[in-house]
Symmetry: C2
Subunit: 225 residues, 2 copies
Amino acid sequence: MRRLHHIPLSPFCRKVRLALAEKRLEVDLVEQTPWSRSLEFLRLNPAGTVPVFEDDEAHGRAVICDSAVICEYLEETRPERPLLPGDPRARAEARRLVAWFDDKMHGEVTANLVDERVMKKVRGGGHPDSGRIRAGSKNLATHLEYVGWLADQRKWLAGDEISLADFAAAAHLSCLDYIGYVDWDSVPSAKAWYQRIKSRPAFRTLLADHLSGFPPPAHYADLDF
Amino acid sequence: MRRLHHIPLSPFCRKVRLALAEKRLEVDLVEQTPWSRSLEFLRLNPAGTVPVFEDDEAHGRAVICDSAVICEYLEETRPERPLLPGDPRARAEARRLVAWFDDKMHGEVTANLVDERVMKKVRGGGHPDSGRIRAGSKNLATHLEYVGWLADQRKWLAGDEISLADFAAAAHLSCLDYIGYVDWDSVPSAKAWYQRIKSRPAFRTLLADHLSGFPPPAHYADLDF
């Protein structure tokens, strides 16, 4: 059986969970605590990060590390139900947006808010830093506007077809929504886009997540929020 | 004519310069100062980062942002002289190492040393932070050992063929070598690998770089260092 080593509120793991589910690939989820630096896990991924994907025997035993690398690998080994468009320029635009969300939005928003509000407590890392929380909240408004602007211009964030760009954005926003930080009503076009993607069967796995000690707000799993 | 917007001591730009040169693609280099946030440059790349690649008309006018995205785009539009192996698992290993150098080594080493030693002064950002310089130097020793270990196990860092993994590693190490921080004699297998890659014609563009006010050490451009 194939396995995905993950942590529930990691946007990188969530992007891969969405990609796997969109490709109808079932996977055993194995929850990790990368900060405990277990030797067993470091043998899988010397970088010590999640997600790590263990592929099944039919495709040859393989251990694939890093969320962007896993997504490219899935595109190459399971080209049905593509996650990227066909044209190289359109692929570059989808990948640009994935990098936008995973680098820029992560650094400016998700890392600040999810780390301070949840992961510090989970890891036992001290008190939340209110400066990072303020910065994250402020930057989230700008990033939500950008999502809304893209959703206004295009059918999906990177173009006519749903792509990894949508799954990357939704992965970050779903983590932020879990901790109640997304003001959906402030950007109606972003909300309408999120309603569409949240209704997809692939999203169900994320909506069922429940972190002990951190209950999500009532609207988190509601498709009609 | 195609153009690459870059800064000389950016490992991400250097990786793309190596990739372009390995594919025998000539390019006009346009030096940018992304920290000045010019509107003209932000129109090219709203993330405000280098490198940005402007492709020529023969392949359709295209603006491609982000070093990893540019490299995938070059593989797709110029498949001759490939930068990644053919097998999906081998491709994943090459991409894993690119992410290792561009994320982990960058955060632990290159950002600390190049930012503090050079970019802060270039940008006018105050005095170097000696804590970051100490951390960067210490972490560099570990990363150089990892490069040496890979070079001991394999012909090139990701396997039998030279790949983006080698160019990413060489891009970081060439920046660090420019500021005189690499103790090559401490890891002979890493030094032998770097000698091989440094001798390639594609490397000449990097060895000719000269930052005003920051002369490189004498061995920087020497193939027999």
